[in-house]
Subunit: 286 residues, 2 copies
Amino acid sequence: MKIGFIGTGVMGNGMIANLIKAGYQVSVFNRTKAHAEYAMGLGANWIDTPKQVAQENDVIITMVGTPQNVADIYFGDNGIMNGASEGKVLIDSTTSKPSLDKKIYEVAKDNGISALDAPVSGGDVGAKNGTLTIMVGGNRETFENVMPIFKSMGQQINFFGPAGSGQHTKMANQIMIAGTMTGMTEMLEYGKAAGLDLDKLVNIVENGSAGNWSLKNYAPRVLKDDFKPGFAAKHFLKDLRIALECAQEMNIQLPSTKLAKKLYEKMVDQMHLGNDGTQGLIKVYK
Amino acid sequence: MKIGFIGTGVMGNGMIANLIKAGYQVSVFNRTKAHAEYAMGLGANWIDTPKQVAQENDVIITMVGTPQNVADIYFGDNGIMNGASEGKVLIDSTTSKPSLDKKIYEVAKDNGISALDAPVSGGDVGAKNGTLTIMVGGNRETFENVMPIFKSMGQQINFFGPAGSGQHTKMANQIMIAGTMTGMTEMLEYGKAAGLDLDKLVNIVENGSAGNWSLKNYAPRVLKDDFKPGFAAKHFLKDLRIALECAQEMNIQLPSTKLAKKLYEKMVDQMHLGNDGTQGLIKVYK
């Protein structure tokens, strides 16, 4: 089975490496060809346009930056939709708008093509180690047909419902993280002002009913002034913006998530710290 | 060693039971005598006023409702300060204002009395099982002297610094929980609006980088419409109010915690749901 992979960033590269390791023949396209060198070094073939990627492969996976990138790659003149034909399977793993993946699904379906939205979590480490969590929406039969592909890249692989459901699940996940990140940041800000021993504070809070993954993994980095990205703030802000657009479309109010978005906007847009990790939010409080 | 215990609520009763089990002779006072019957049934003696409790015991522990209750019990005409004398140890386990426990410490010190602030976490289950987390501020020597008493009631017992530091640590803990509770609530609200399978959503989010104690323990209750208190919303709101008063005194801004307080105010003050558990916050979103 031939797989075309579009998007050779840090996530894409990890996923491509695991696909190749699993024995798939992989071709790649990336907006900036130079960034595809790592994947080509692993044995992936370069292809010049998304359209050709779709023409020459059975399954096409996209892992790009923004919903706009996704729209361009699927619906542009040299896009996937102009190259794909009956029987092919399109998988969008970009964290993107549910409504966009619904549109991809519908357009594909009209042409006898299958499409899934399959955003992931687990970061670059998960991508590299093949331990991603993959949240899938679309048609269940298609999902089951490509399960071996998902299994080569991820560990927890779950089907959540019709097209867009994978993206909605990812959005729900990011909404939860907005809570742990703002809570952690304000806890550290408070503890510092109160003159507490912050290592001791983090340790005791982590082991009780306030415990959470962000506190365990990011608070120690904040205390060492380590703001290197596990997950870059600019990407998290993008996700929160999508989540809040969806919330508005669904007519629900998410005031805490909205506030988290404002705080990350300050960090990314005003303070230009978008390449810092999400734990850099504490700089907004200084 | 004779221990006087003031406050025979659900937390106090669990702590008293463990003190008696550890062999201490315990006397109790409670504003409403009828509520002290459980403790008396365990073998605790009734004493008529906080002043007398302080006169007749070596160590006096208070576990009451609000900072105002604490102030009354320590500084009222029939209060602890009018009964305590040199060498006694006062321990306030109420979650209360750090500045109030600092005042208790200072007034006590002027009279040769020792005082600690020692709020707890772990809820009624932790109180009953003797597995509380105890966060202590005051004088370290005093802390070490009464360690056997703390050990009979708790598991994780930590000294955090000068008077008020135990309370500040507890406040930091509650600030963190404000984040996990609002995040969890908005995640569920979003997931529901998006038509996701919420059990499946909670399960997958819980096991990744958004995982946290509230999600694991409270989300399943929300999904079963179980709003019985693990921790009553009215108590949590009290804690958030104290935390934000302290933040203001320390000149720091905690916008997310402030928003959480507003949401819990709606739940408790406007919707009169203060006796529901904190997970009832989702009702504010309906």
